[in-house]
């Protein structure tokens, strides 16, 4: 969902003007700064207004950039705590949290006052005091904080209980030894009937124990949390989704049921006749579909989070998707695709992250995204990383699309391959290349044609990129593309892009070894050598390589024919050997001997070409090329022993793989930062494997929550309704009253609910004892399971 300020910026035209005006203004100091002495005087004043003014100034100094020293006011600020004014308190607390670490001794002076506020009448004051106390980063007070939390956990007001939940995190961070106590508190809070207290408790639990924390704390409230998740606030929902996903992996083994696949009539007919013959086991394997058999509790979790897909919070939607992807892609994932696509409407920062995650899902389940192809068409105004991701999605869904959509995608790619942005050209040409890898021959031919057309562009960059991709494609299936290579070779007359030329020359060289290309390769070499001087270094290197390959091919074929001749007529073989022996002229011997050899035997044109190439290379300015030439010369110096050269030059090249760019990120978790950054970062979140069958905790452990609910009495049952329903109830009972009447009413009802709270509190405390008993039991169960 668009954020409010973005919507208002659309609605308000004056806004842009204000922004521009503010940008031109130098940022100014708002309030006249006062000397510290005067500020102290303000703080010491009795008038609330002065104290407030003084505190504001101190806070402003603390936040000002660069910050001004405010530590000197510490005693004066703390003294104001003794004032009864509620307005100053938040500011003092803020100051206290900020400065406590710098001056712990002074901070300790305030503890007593803060502690007193913990039993204030107003729940907001209590909550704030608890929050502040936990926020003071002085390890000495950890036990006091722990006690304060304990008190807060049993507070009547949910506000305070929520504050207590969040304080647990800070308490453990302050002093690790408080962990056992804090876990106890959390266990109570997790069972809270107020959905936002429970949400905060889940948040705190994830923070304190991690997602792989103590499962036995979750068991009793699992089902209840599943039902409450819809009403929690977004951050509680997020924490529960994270926790629930891991919980499911650790508690519900992946069971599959093999069901016989529904057979088509043909198969049935076939089977009918095949019945007579014994069938192979393997065949039978394919007859069955693996179907997930889900635990009821897992289904509960998965269905309970489905309404969250209409949340306005993009993180929640992604977390639900994550749960579906890793828990049950077959049944539920399709529900999450639409909402995931809807994230593309968000502001650009969120859009980019969303796209990364869409790619991640798309790598595994591309078919789900086919109906949404139009959402991935590129816009010329988008930044390059978003365009790259969209291109990737288009290519991923390409094989699953109908022909019309494939045409659309190809047209899209072609359009952007003509863009002036070189990186976009590269991306789109490579995307065409990936499309061409489709198993459908007609499609890959169309892509190939498209690429071949690009070669005629006058944009060097495009030609180079296209050629690179064509080369890869040809290498994948060399036999189908012999003619293409010939065609490409013809283009050498006109092409100017050096990378493209180098690619073609290399391809021709590769095909020189194949029988059909031989004449062409030699001919191409002949033509290229004429223009050798005008070529760039990369192309020269390829020409040299081509020459070496052609020469080698020629040597090999001559050897073969000689060998064959030898088989027929033994005498010739010797002469062949001798002649080739005489041909063996190292570079030291130089030209004279070469000439001598050529006098003996009429030199072959290919041999001459080779010599010419070596000469050209010897006088090339580049060291690199000269070195190479020397290497080739040494390799091919003995025409009779071409084995080593063949090994080196005619080695079968590995087929180049052009995986989707995000394939490298496949292992990263959906929704993690590593996925976006592309590097494995230090992460606390990890997804465990499915627990093995038989090792999971007994499903009975989760029942306890139910038992406990009954235990808690009817009060809890009544509280199980959603926020909306509760509201309805309240509204229904109080219709048509004046405000005052309603307010009075409210107070009464509040009292009632307070007493309710009290009773239920007892209930929960009682049940927490109960729970510990059960915990030990479940432990026993687990051990028993292990023994078994």
């Amino acid at each position: 969902m668009e954020s409010l300020s973005r919507i208002s910026s659309l609605l308000e035209t004056a806004r842009d003007l204000t922004l521009e005006a503010s940008a031109s203004l130098p940022s100014r100091r708002p309030i006249k700064p006062l000397p510290p002495v005067q500020i102290k005087k303000l703080l010491d004043s009795r008038s609330e207004r002065d104290v407030l003014d003084g505190l504001r100034r101190v806070i402003a100094m603390q936040y000002a950039q660069p910050p001004q020293p405010t530590l000197t006011f510490f005693p004066a600020v703390l003294k104001t705590l003794s004032n009864p004014y509620p307005s100053t308190r938040p500011l003092v607390y803020n100051y206290l949290i900020h400065h406590a670490e710098l001056d712990p001794d002074t901070a300790l002076l305030s503890i007593n006052t803060v502690q007193k506020s913990l039993s204030d009448q107003n729940p907001r004051v209590r909550a704030m005091a608890l929050k502040t106390m936990a926020g003071i980063r002085v390890p000495v007070i950890s036990q006091i904080v722990s006690l304060a939390i304990k008190k807060g956990v049993s507070d009547l007001s949910p506000l305070v209980r929520k504050a207590a939940a969040l304080a647990c995190v800070k308490c453990v961070r302050l002093d690790e030894t408080t962990r056992p106590q804090v876990e106890e508190y959390l266990a109570v809070l997790l069972g809270d009937k107020q959905y936002y207290v429970a949400g905060a408790a889940v948040q705190a639990f994830v923070e304190v124990c991690g997602t792989d924390g103590k499962l036995e704390m979750i068991h009793p409230c699992y089902r209840r949390l599943c039902r409450m998740v819809v009403d929690m606030d977004e951050w509680g929902q997020l924490a529960w989704l994270r926790l629930g996903t891991v919980y499911a992996r650790r508690c519900f083994p992946r069971r599959t049921k093999r069901t016989k696949r529904v057979q088509t009539r043909e198969q049935q007919a076939k089977d009918f006749y095949e019945d007579l013959e014994p069938r192979e086991e393997e065949e039978q394997e394919t007859e069955y579909d693996e179907q997930e058999v889900m635990d009821q509790d897992l289904t509960l979790f998965l269905t309970s989070i489905q309404p969250l897909l209409q949340s306005r919070n993009s993180a929640v939607i992604l977390a639900v998707t994550k749960a579906y992807l890793y828990l049950s892609p077959a049944t539920y994932l399709q529900h999450a695709i639409g909402p995931l696509i809807a994230l593309l409407r968000s502001p650009q920062d969120i859009q980019q992250v969303a796209l990364h995650n869409i790619v991640q899902v798309c790598l595994v389940h591309p078919q789900h995204f086919v109906p949404y192809q139009r959402h991935f068409l590129l816009k010329s105004t988008e930044p390059s990383d978003i365009r790259g991701l969209k291109l990737e999605i288009l290519t991923l869904i390409f094989p699953f699309c109908s022909k019309e959509i494939q045409n659309l995608v190809l047209a899209e790619l072609e359009h952007f391959s003509r863009s002036p942005d070189p990186s976009l050209v590269r991306e789109s040409v490579r995307a065409i290349g990936r499309c061409a890898q489709s198993p459908n021959i007609a499609t890959s031919r169309r892509c190939m044609t498209l690429l071949l057309n690009q070669i005629h562009s006058s944009d060097h960059n495009l030609v180079g990129e296209a050629m690179e991709v064509i080369r890869h494609l040809i290498q994948r299936t060399p036999n189908e593309h012999r003619k293409t290579v010939v065609r490409l070779a013809k283009n050498l007359d006109h092409l100017t892009s050096p990378t493209a030329r180098a690619s073609i020359v290399w391809l021709v060289g590769e095909f020189a070894g194949l029988d059909i290309g031989e004449g062409v390769a030699a001919d191409v070499l002949r033509i290229l050598l004429k223009g050798y001087v005008g070529e760039e270094e990369g192309v020269r290197a390829q020409i040299m390589l081509l020459a070496a390959k052609v020469y080698l091919g020629w040597l090999n074929s001559r050897k073969n024919t000689n060998g064959n001749d030898g088989a027929v007529d033994g005498g010739n073989a010797d002469t062949g050997l001798i002649s080739s022996g005489t041909n063996d002229d190292g570079e030291d011997r130089g030209f004279r001997e070469e000439r001598a050899v050529s006098e003996i035997e009429k030199p072959q044109p290919i041999e001459l070409l080779w010599q010419h190439t070596l000469l050209l290379a010897r006088y090339t300015p580049s060291y690199h090329l000269r070195d190479r030439a020397r290497l080739y010369r040494a390799l091919l110096s003995t025409p009779s022993s071409t084995e080593l050269a063949s090994l080196l030059l005619l080695a079968p090249k590995p087929v180049p793989q052009a995986p989707s760019p995000s394939e490298a990120r496949r292992d990263y978790l959906l929704g993690s930062t590593s996925l976006i950054v592309g590097e494995g970062l230090r992460s606390v979140d990890s997804l465990p494997d499915w627990i093995e069958e038989g090792k999971e905790p007994d499903s009975g452990v989760r029942d306890e929550g139910e038992v406990r609910q009954e235990y808690g009495g009817k009060v809890e049952g009544a509280k199980e309704v959603s926020a909306g329903q509760r509201l309805d109830e309240v509204l229904a009972t109080k219709k048509g009253k004046t405000l005052d009447a309603w307010l009075n009413d409210e107070e009464e009802s509040e009292d009632e609910s307070g007493s309710e709270d009290a009773t239920s509190e007892e209930g929960t405390e009682g049940s927490s004892d109960e729970e510990s008993e059960y915990e030990s039991e479940s432990d026993d169960d687990e051990q028993a399971g292990l023994v078994r």
Binding site: M1, L10, L11, S27, E48, R345, D349, H494, G671, L731
Partner: protein
Amino acid sequence: MSAIEALYILDEHNKPTLEHVYTGHPPSASTLLPLYLAHPSPRSSLIYLPSTNPPTLLFSVLQDRLLFFSPCSVDTDPLFVLEFIHRVADALEEFLGSPLLASKIENSYDVVAQVLAEMCDGGSINTTEANVLRDVVETSTWMGKLLGGVGLPSSSPALNASSSAFALQKPSLPPTTLASGTAIPWRRSNVRHTSNELYVDIVETLSVTLAPSGRPLSAFANGSIAFTCKVSGVPELLLTLTTPSGRTGVERSMQLPVFHPCVRLARWREQPGTLSFVPPDGRFVLAGYEVDLLGDQPLTTSNKSKVPNLNLPATVSVQTGLGSYGADFEVRLNISTRFVGNSSGLSSSAMSSLSNNLNRPSASRAASGDAKTPVVENLVVSIPIPPTVRNISDLRPSKGEAHWDPGDGALEWRLAAKEVASVGSAGAVLRCTVVGPAGDEDVEDAAAAGMTNLRVDTYDYDESGAYQSSTPDTNTVTNGKIEKDVGRVKQNAVLMPTSATVSFSVKGWLPSGIKVDSLNLDIRKSKGLGEGVRPYKGVKYLTVSRGGVEARC
């Protein structure tokens, strides 16, 4: 784990304005800024900075020219942090007024500090509903000053500024109401307004891609329903939407909706188009949706005859490679006659009051439909020009003003409201001549002469072709002049723009045709609303295209 470690705000000059550390000791804004700026623009919202110690993940959001930073040292859910930053921006806007400016933040550090501390508690996100924060945050700035100045006993209670007029009578809040305020987690307690008003703003943002032939490839309208509620007590509202094809069309046209937590999802599922909710106080976004303007019709090349009519207010088409050297291009802007009216009636059409004719929905529809024609405003055509273009020697718009700055890469063509009105059915035309890079004309001519042989329009991929069979035309070098021209055309093709986008806004019209059918305040279910109060209701429709209509060529 998933903690927000700190939040920094930098002003439009990238000067740190605010630093608030929640937990740990993350690197300061001044340390992060140069590392952030070292990344090439446009910068990603998540940047990994391995050079800091410990390695930091920097989340950044740019909003209203303010730069929000949040550093993080462990792998978190990126959307979690980004959403939080957006919420902070929204909350600050609620407290400091819209738009958010650096100077406003500097003027009220005390409020900002409280808001930030309340939204995130030691790294765990706490309360992000801006409306509820009003209950907690102490903002009595001007009231305090006012009271102090007049000499009244100043006892500013923990109430917000807007309702502090009532605060005078109630010096301290009764704890009961405070506790009850949490019954609705998104609405602050004790809302009182003297004038009761409800406004619905439906905004749709166009995102349309047109093929060179003018056929739409994709056409979406991203809609948001912004709601402003200024009603005392706890109102219970029912908003019903409709489309030209009736109420049933709502489900079909409003796709992939997302809702504010206050909306009862069950009601929507039962009856799409019905939003039943208890709103937060003030302004908020009620729902977001998207409309596929092409409908469900498949993209086929066969039904070329039946080009779907999108009824866009303004479209554009580009023709490139014109002139004898192919150095010209022409942009044609067409404005639908439905949206050209007198520029005088703008303000009146913007707001069509629903208060009178809400009970007669047909009348309200008619009123906003034909009585005042919606008018295209703020029309800008933007044409990205390739960076290789050295100059555009000739800019000839038939209407409006065109401007190109070699630095920013795009040609802008603006039409004022008056000029829009005078654009006829033929449309307005902008013709430009581009000049390519200097110095290489001769070289390119030579190269181009050889290149013409290659102009094979259909390179049929065919395996049966043989090397020698197709004879290369060696006799092409016949007419040097034509050769050269064709070469120039070829060369200039690289300098041609590949697309053009139109931006505009239209008030009083939505591409999806979605309309507010009725907005009812359920008096029986609401509470705290005074007797006989009938709030004023207003509806506004707005269509915006921010470079959203894109034509390719």
